[in-house]
């Protein structure tokens, strides 16, 4: 088995194959980054909506809770299928990449909104009351008082979720999005040994995820002592 790998290696580790893999890693990172950025923005909006108390906004609060609970309770693969076919009813010209981005954004919004909400709830209610008596509006209170105190609680678990999103994007390969896992499959179809191919793919994921995990663990310690 090993002689086969050694014999195959020079053919596998060529410049073009490696560029191919690196590009695929770029796509995986791009998918994850899109998910994280959208997830933070919409997750914050959802968490903020859930922090409102106005009885008029009750239906809106209910809707966002339903959204969050749905997307935290169905498998990402199922989300991908639903988004893909729903989008194709509307238009046939949407790229697979765009569908994958949309799906990961829906997932990340649901999960990150919970992380952000937990962070916001860690800020004492009295801080919000003080802002209220100073005539801060709702959004000013969120941006000037709540978020600057909540981010210490938000950041460490957010990193864990970023790693989760990197791993979840591998399922987009099943829709035909040419990211790292898909590239592994196509290299295997070109006759390379699965040992070599999936070894490299696993290493690729590890190289992307591990620094984030370490950074998250480091920040968790740092922020807890600060």
């Amino acid at each position: 088995m090993f002689d086969r790998l050694i014999e195959e290696a020079p053919r596998f580790f060529t410049y073009y194959n490696m560029i191919f893999v690196l590009q695929a890693m770029g796509t995986t990172l791009l998918l994850t980054a899109a998910g994280c950025i959208t997830g933070f923005i919409f997750g914050f909006i959802i968490a903020a909506i859930r922090a409102t108390r106005d009885p008029l906004l009750k239906p809106l609060r209910f809707l966002v809770i339903v959204y969050v609970e749905i997307f935290r309770r169905i498998p990402f693969l199922v989300t991908l299928f639903i988004v893909m076919f729903a989008v194709q009813i509307v238009s046939r010209n949407v790229s697979l990449f765009a569908i994958a981005v949309l799906s990961i954004c829906m997932l990340s919004t649901a999960f990150l909104s919970e992380v952000i909400r937990a962070g916001m709830e860690s800020v004492p209610r009295l801080q919000i009351e003080a802002a209220e008596t100073l005539n801060f509006g709702f959004w000013r209170t969120q941006f000037r008082v709540v978020l600057p105190q909540a981010w210490k609680v938000i950041i460490p678990p957010a990193f864990a979720f970023m790693v989760m999103f990197i791993k979840d994007t591998s399922l987009a390969s099943q829709m035909g999005v040419i990211e790292l896992t898909f590239t592994g499959k196509s290299l295997m179809n070109r006759g390379f040994s699965p040992f070599l191919v999936y070894g490299v793919v696993l290493a690729g994921y590890f190289v992307m995820s591990y620094p984030l995990s370490r950074l998250g663990a480091y920040l968790e310690k740092r922020l807890a002592s600060a």
């Binding site: 299928f81 791993k167 793919v201 995990s213």
Partner: protein, 224 residues
């Protein structure tokens, strides 16, 4: 945009889908308990083992928590036959998910054991309880309290994660959904019904676990 939703064809297949849900639960259960055994050994090894053992366990945890389970299973499924190990899809999936679960549970259980040590020392100092008393009144409730929420969340996550078995042709819930939708071409209807089944499964699982926690360990866990 002329698409009319037709659910009747999917609803006829409901028993078939629910059978798939049963397979989903089987996969999740099997991986959870087998993974828990690995996790327990891992946690104890990480706390009590020598440098070499700790290093090996660390490498195991770090590797499996930082790479996708899907690709790990691809590796098992496609690479192992090269060395003469042929796995059927179900076995490959369960092995992959078990090894993954073991890595996560090593960390979760280690946290639980560490927190018990502190509680044990504190009560021993403060109350002067006997060993058995502190086990009964302090340590077990403490373990239950710290570990219950992360473990039940993890189980829900496994139920969802097991859907990747469909990629390898296992006929669990998602796999059966793919089967049906390729036959009836009602993908949205099929998958929205399947999504509802997953939601029901996870809500029932969380609720059941929360009730168990409340009755047996007096833990008040959130379902939502």
């Amino acid at each position: 945009m002329n698409y009319t939703l037709q659910y009747s064809v999917v609803l006829q297949q409901l028993p078939y889908l629910l059978g798939g849900a049963l397979v989903t639960l089987q996969v999740a259960f099997l991986s959870f308990w087998l993974g828990a055994v690995i996790g327990l050994f891992g946690a104890v090894g990480k706390l009590k083992g020598n440098r070499l053992i700790r290093g090996l366990i660390n490498a195991y945890v770090v590797f499996f928590t930082n790479t996708p389970a899907l690709v790990q299973i691809f590796f098992l499924f496609y690479a192992l036959p090269d060395v003469g190990i042929l796995l059927d899809p179900m076995t490959a999936v369960v092995i992959g998910m078990t090894v993954n679960t073991g890595a996560y549970l090593t960390e979760i259980l280690r946290g639980g054991i560490l927190s018990v040590r502190r509680a044990e020392i504190e009560t021993a100092e403060v109350l002067g309880m006997s060993h058995l008393q502190s086990l009964r009144y302090v340590i077990l409730p403490h373990i239950a309290k710290t570990l219950f929420a992360p473990l039940s969340n993890f189980f829900v996550w496994l139920v969802l994660g097991s859907s990747m078995a469909a990629v390898f042709g296992v006929e669990e819930l998602t796999g059966r959904a793919i089967n049906i939708s390729t036959a009836n071409l009602r993908t949205i209807e099929t998958f929205s019904v399947v999504a509802l089944i997953y939601i029901a499964l996870t809500v029932i699982a969380s609720a059941a676990l929360a009730l168990v926690g409340r009755w047996c360990f007096r833990v008040t866990a959130r379902i939502f």
